[in-house]
Symmetry: C2
Subunit: 113 residues, 2 copies
Amino acid sequence: MERNIYISWLLDFYGALLTEKQRTVLELHYNEDLSLGEIAEQEGISRQGVYDAAKRAETALCHMEQQLGLLERHIKMKQFFADWLERLQKIEVQPSSTDLLQVLTENIKDYLS
Amino acid sequence: MERNIYISWLLDFYGALLTEKQRTVLELHYNEDLSLGEIAEQEGISRQGVYDAAKRAETALCHMEQQLGLLERHIKMKQFFADWLERLQKIEVQPSSTDLLQVLTENIKDYLS
């Protein structure tokens, strides 16, 4: 997984445990695609301050994932259900069950989206 | 959900972020069913020390759940798949798909267990 996307996912899982400043910096950088210089200007802090907050926040996020592994678990589960859906779609049902299969398939697709 | 079970679940999700002492105390109390007095004796710390560590640890776990809500998300997801399994079992398949349905059903049951 690309690093930017990885950090963005970690932020989604564990961001609430960061300080507000750390979370803001990472959200602006990874989700809003602002440069560190742009964040410094917008937030009224030095570029070095932004850099330090981002580094500390990334280290904290990676530590939490290393300890808890919830993102990894989430990714494995999505893969499990994606494989599962693929096989479900191969099932041939009796005409009376067509609608039910359709609903179940849509539910899994919603879940995976 | 009963409080003991709830704390035990939180411990399962977030325990790695506690200090070793906090985690040990809660594991012995909630998973091994030892009293605070028994833990104090076993670990060679005062009963008050055990009590304080347990209180701090429980507060930390509840705070993490309040911030991240991963246990709640997990419970909802299990419920979603339990409902889903119930409906899957009502599907009537063509004879050629009997084995496939069986495998898919077993997979979901394994996941839920």
